[in-house]
Symmetry: C2
Subunit: 213 residues, 2 copies
DNA sequence: CTAACGTTTGATGCATGCAACAGCTTCTGG
DNA sequence: CCAGAAGCTGTTGCATGCATCAAACGTTAG
């Protein structure tokens, strides 16, 4: 139930601020209001919706400031993941990551933005899960849900210049992991996420952003 | 409602694995099962309890591995916070932190472990909130809830040796923040959390721990 | 015309009741 | 004495109904 409602919210079918009536969702999923209510409370806890008591539930649009905050967190968490992965004894993910970058390159020259975005997502997620820290995965997922990934990133993926820079940064991260340089891997990943965040934030709107330094 | 039940769980009145019956909690707080159910679902999402479908809700004891994972995250998040704080233009928290360390020193010489632990907690929390990143605060709170702070840390605070080392590390962090050395502040904080985690983990049980490097 | 007020409406908040199921207990056949 | 099955019990899962309240609307006095 939770996943189904979450998917509905993240699908983008509703514009931010749109009301999510309990009775509507109940009819939509053919259940009673009770399980819907439980679900909405959890989604509120995830930051995806806002429940105004006695009024209703609304899809939450993160403010620009919150997006900056989320990217700061993303940078930290992904850096941690890359470092942990580089520290592991054997890293069976290396092959997957290598293959992913090759595919990404191909998608880049084909200008296939959708496929490229999917590959980038897979690259990052492979590193997160490869860190073998289940709590990190939980926090990361939570983070990415709030970032409403698709809306922001898919738009960015349409820029060819960004595509090239991104695969280069991915290669840098991969090299550090292969060399078991956990300090370098963390730095490379943080640099990559930082650059990517700056790109997304300057692209998404016109207002200037200070992400930090 | 959520806070009340959470406090009850964190109070330590129930041993890990103890069942949390909905009807019991409903009577305890003099409400019906419905709001209790909603609350438990959220606490499950926070990782504090485990809901076995059709069976019941139980207080969740994190495994040793999960505690290690949580400390890895803690190190990363607190490092981020210290760095962000050091980057801020003006840092009004400096006075509070300075005062806190002085009080901590006093509590240390008095061997007042409880007061010392409270001050340490306040020190860390001041830095977290001082980073001015609301999402970071959310994730941090979530993290600390799962760590069942009191149980692990209060025990550690009883070691005088650790007390002295800890205030020293606190001072190092504070100095870096005052100097606006965000790189150093992050490193100092991570070092401090790492050492503290190692202390807690080796103290809590007898088994050896590899936190990382 | 405007501002304040009462009314209406639509939603949530919660209590309650029933069905369904996991796990334990007990009974029975060997 | 033991293994397996049947039922028993306590719990959750969910539907439903009523009370409550916020916001919108219309009404009326000034």
């Amino acid at each position: 139930m939770l996943d189904r409602v979450r998917r509905l919210v993240l699908s983008g079918g509703f514009s931010p601020g749109a009301p999510l009536s309990e009775v509507f969702l109940a009819q939509e999923f053919d259940v009673s209001r009770t399980p819907i209510r439980e679900t909405l409370k959890q989604l509120q806890h995830e930051g995806l919706v806002e429940i105004r008591p006695k009024v209703g539930t609304f899809i939450r649009e993160p403010t620009r400031r919150e997006i900056v905050e989320l990217f700061q967190l993303k940078e930290s968490l992904e850096g941690l993941a890359a470092g942990l992965l580089a520290r592991r004894g054997s890293v069976p993910e290396l092959g997957v990551l290598e293959h992913n970058i090759e595919e990404s390159d191909r998608a880049a020259v084909d200008q296939d933005a959708t496929r490229y975005a999917a590959l980038v997502h897979e690259f990052h997620r492979t590193i997160i899960t490869g860190a073998e820290n289940s709590k990190l995965v939980e926090h990361y997922d939570r983070l990415m849900n709030q970032l409403a990934y698709h809306r922001l990133v898919l738009r960015t993926a349409e820029h060819p210049g960004r595509i090239r820079a991104s695969t280069g940064e991915h290669r840098a991260v991969l090299t550090m992991i292969r060399d078991k340089d956990h300090f370098g891997a963390e730095a490379a990943m943080r640099n990559h996420v930082h650059a990517s965040a700056r790109e997304v934030l300057t692209d998404a709107r016109t207002a200037p952003v200070e992400l930090s330094s």
